[in-house]
Amino acid sequence: MKEITLRVARYDPAVDDEPHFEEYTVRVNEGARVLHALHAVHDEHDPTLAYRYCCGSGQCGSCAVRVDGTPGLACMEEARDGMTIEPLDFPILKDLTVDMSPVIAKIARICPAPDAGLPTQEEIEAIKPLRDCIECLSCVSACPALQVTDFAGPTVLRQEMRLALDPRDSGDRITDAIEKGLFYCTTCKRCLEVCPKEIDVPGKAIEKLREIANRRGLTLPRHQEVAKMVQETGRSVERTKTTFLEQVPEVIEPIGPVRGEVGFFVGCMFNGRVPQTALDAMEVMKRNGIRVIVPHDQVCCGSPLIRTGQTSYVADLKQKNIEAFARRGIKTVMTICAGCGATLKNDYETPFVVKDVTEILTEYGIELPAKLDITATYHDPCHLLRGQGISEEPRALLRLGVREFVEMPTQCCGAGGGVRSGVPEEAKALGAKRDECIKATGADVVVTVCPFCEFHIADCTDTPVKNLVTVLLEGYKKKDAERKGSA
């Protein structure tokens, strides 16, 4: 047995104006789950604590709560000393119980065709990964799109795809899915992160439904424009100035001895819209002894097309890009765009390793920059944090470059998944939420490592937004200036 203390949100609408926290110290067994700590509170402190549970083994989806802010099953999450337990983000009935019925009512039911036979093994295998859902609604509670739109929620769209894959279903799942907000998903993958069954709703449902919608001509007009541009120019971003590729040679040699060599996948945003940041990155690589090879025949990675379901042209892009790097014998390809990085890592099968710039710099170790005299906060790009599982590296690098680093809560900025172009009002509303978080930190600068986030957040806040590589380069410049000054 061990003793733990937990804070539990309590709310009885009959007497309380709003929820409040109570702290309890309980004795639990080694390996106890959150649910067992709640049982201990109920049995030993306050039998009126309202919370749901049933199977106790992660199979029924009754007991989801927020543990330190993150939704999960109380029966599967290990109880920790000091944890805070809150209900899911739905209307509260009492304490930890919430009204799940409005969401469950939106989950489509199968409409079996009268003459349908048994699906084939292939069809069953396709459906299965979407069938594991236990409707705990953790994903719906965590989804940022729901905060600002009437998006029905990840698992609701999951079910639309599950039914779309079933030859026995006779419903019109695409029309249904669009009505339920198919184009509201930013593909931030927060739902996958909290799903106890690890169901990849964005990848296996949203993007697939968007593909079917595309085949039926139902892709949003703004997304179609992007696809047209990629087909015509190989780029998803309009050319407004001299591009990055036009400004650099194929091989960028470092200053001093060569410590390493990487290929550089620049991506459309850095190539066409914010080339200066990519140029800054090259300076940082030079300074740290890393040779950069930049194949000029690289094209769009295809992410804007995959996320919006316009996949007919993607195979062609993949082949061009893989060839561009493979032909030059490049073993490691670096990205500085989180979206491109996640796409190359997750949607490609490459004969080379793909690494984010923060992974490369961490691996080689960097020359210390002079610290900029600013307080900086960091915005986790979804496609870096969840798309690539990278959160520590950029923070560690940032701490080297600024006087003070402050955390802010992680949430999608609203730019991804084609939302900035397709549903700008949603992107704006999510951006405004980021602005609130940024303001709350009191930081002078917001740092990130994704051009889409950078561009979008800059539109939504007065606080300057910078790429991490720019911060490092400014630190080097400051260091040089200080040396010069003291010399």
Partner: protein, 552 residues
């Protein structure tokens, strides 16, 4: 109706709902019953949880037995079931089960269930214990969840009225002695009265009465207790199936089901000396012997000092291909990983756990109980599985008898008696007493569970059973205390658990033989086929054991 709405000791009936058929329970049997009854209209389904989340169907992992291949036959399924049940089963119920299971799985597939299929597009089947043909259909190791999701889809297409998180606390009868509905508590503890022409009890099992149990929190035996109080007769309540393989640690997860599919897929059992001990207990069927045999084998290994330090044995699948474990046993993989065990690389530790109550309400093949107006189906009924249930027969039972109960309840005539107001008064007084009680239901529950595990578990004897019975009676007499109206249900539940436990122990004392899951160390082992004993029975008015003609 004015009477019911009048405040009586701060309590009142807040809502009255009328139905033709009232179905109590939202597991596989209850939902199937409601679907079938809805053909006749006026169906109300009352679920004490959010529908689909309660009960044990949704947790059922392994499968659904049905004869689907030419090489298999209903007759063999019938024989396997009777032999597995130590010939205590009601043969008419077994006939219904085995004949109709194929039609019922066809219903599920027609309604959209995603069962695994073979590459030649047939429903896939795996071997399960005690069966001579691999006839267990499955959806990975989440078969029950697949069924319940499908059934809820189908239910949604009917005009059944669904009351969720409303818990029935007792059945109500009319002046003719027919069941006329039920009285229930909603989430806040407000009282509801359901009136019906026919009532289907589909409340599932009750092995939560044991300290170590696979059952969901809802498996508290409410149906056994409510029907008993209403005067129905129950049979074979001593027949409690201990599933051989429950998790051993961490402590709070003890008893969690480790599906028989693990052994069906090729998992082997080893004791702490790494001996494949089933060779000594059932060399022919080994790990796929019937559950009673495997559970006793494991318990014996542990009792005789050949268990692990944590009091279990090893269940090992590490010799199976990783992909097979990932595809066929994903829930097992996920659950053990959550506790730090990768079953692809290391063995699981398992020990027996109370799983299923084979006994229950005495029913006819039309699911009629011994009192008019009350039907029962699923685990709350008795007789289908005899003294030991075959894995895969419970899910089949929910569908076969769910449909039957729904059909015959639906066909019931309009009931013309009046609900007896006195009974409602009585319930209200009982609830009022809880508000003034002094003993925490949590304390009684814990005490009861330990008593049952220690004195009415796998190995039994008369002195222990008598001690247990006296103790349970003491617990049942405690003045339980509800901290608020929302806590009244807890008191009712603990009371039901005490009644269920008492029925199990009383019937265990009535059966002086070792048979199937019932092992009395102070009794002889009888040959199941020629045992002179048949069902034990218990009701408010009588209890005993039936004898039968012994074939010469």
């Amino acid at each position: 109706m004015v009477l019911y709405n009048a405040p009586i000791n701060k309590m009142l009936v807040d809502e009255i709902v009328d139905a033709h058929v009232l179905v109590i329970g939202s597991g596989g049997a209850g939902v199937r019953a409601a679907i079938e009854a809805s053909r006749y209209g006026g169906v109300v389904l009352v679920s004490k949880t959010i529908a689909g989340k309660g009960g044990c169907t949704t947790m059922a992992e392994g499968g659904f037995n049905a004869v689907l291949r030419d090489q298999d036959s209903v007759l063999v399924h019938r024989e396997d079931t009777l032999k597995g049940g130590a010939y205590l089963n009601d043969p008419a119920l077994v006939d219904a089960l085995t004949h109709e299971a194929p039609e019922r799985i066809a219903d599920l597939i027609r309604w959209g269930a995603v069962f695994d299929v073979t590459d030649d597009r047939q429903v896939a089947q795996r071997p399960f214990g005690g069966q001579r043909f691999p006839r267990t259909c499955y959806a990975g190791d989440r078969t029950g969840h697949e069924m319940i999701m499908t059934l809820l889809d189908r239910l949604d297409a009917t005009d059944t009225r669904l009351y969720q998180e409303v818990s029935v606390i007792d059945l109500i009868k009319d002046e003719n002695g027919a069941v006329a509905g039920a009285i229930a508590l909603d989430r806040d503890g407000s009282l509801m009265l359901f009136r019906s022409d026919a009532t289907v009890l589909a409340t599932g099992g009750g092995t939560q009465a044991y300290d170590i149990s696979t059952n969901s929190a809802a498996g508290t035996g409410d149906g056994f207790a409510m029907a008993y109080r209403a005067g129905a007769e129950l049979i074979d309540m001593e027949m409690v199936q201990f599933h051989p393989t429950g998790a051993v640690y961490p402590y709070d997860a003890r008893g969690r089901l480790v599906t028989e599919a693990v052994r069906g897929e090729g998992g082997i059992l080893l004791n702490a000396r790494r001996e494949r001990f089933m060779e000594r207990y059932d060399p022919e069927r080994m790990e796929l012997s019937t559950r009673d045999v495997v559970a006793r084998a494991i318990a014996t290994e542990v009792l005789e000092g050949r268990g692990t330090n944590r009091g279990g044995v090893y269940l090992d699948v590490t010799h199976l291909p990783r992909e097979r474990i990932e595809a066929r046993l994903p829930v097992m993989l996920e659950q053990f990983l959550a506790y730090g065990v990768d079953i692809r690389r290391e063995p699981m530790e398992v020990a027996p756990t109370a799983h299923h109550i084979m006994g229950g309400l005495r029913i006819t093949p039309e699911c009629r109980t011994t009192i008019p107006g009350l039907f029962a189906c699923g685990e709350v009924s008795g007789g289908v599985h005899g003294a030991n249930r075959l894995g895969g027969n419970a899910l089949a039972e929910t569908q076969v008898f769910g449909k039957r109960a729904g059909e015959f309840a639906g066909r019931s005539p309009e009931r013309n008696g009046q609900v007896d107001a006195g009974q409602i008064d009585e319930k209200i007084h009982m609830l009022d007493a809880f508000l003034e009680g002094t003993v925490s239901p949590a304390t009684v529950r814990k005490d009861l569970k330990l008593t049952m595990w220690n004195q009415a578990g796998i190995f039994r004897n008369a002195p222990d059973l008598r001690t247990a019975l006296a103790h349970i009676r003491g617990l049942a007499d405690q003045r339980l205390c509800a901290a608020s109206t929302a806590n009244l249900l807890e008191c009712c539940t603990v009371r039901n658990m005490c009644t269920t436990a008492s029925l199990i122990v009383r019937c265990a004392l009535l059966r002086p033989e070792n048979r199937g899951a019932h092992v009395r160390r102070d009794a002889e082992k009888t040959d199941p086929a020629t045992s002179p004993f048949c069902h034990t029975y218990a009701s408010i008015s009588r209890e005993g054991i039936e004898r039968r003609e012994v074939p010469a």
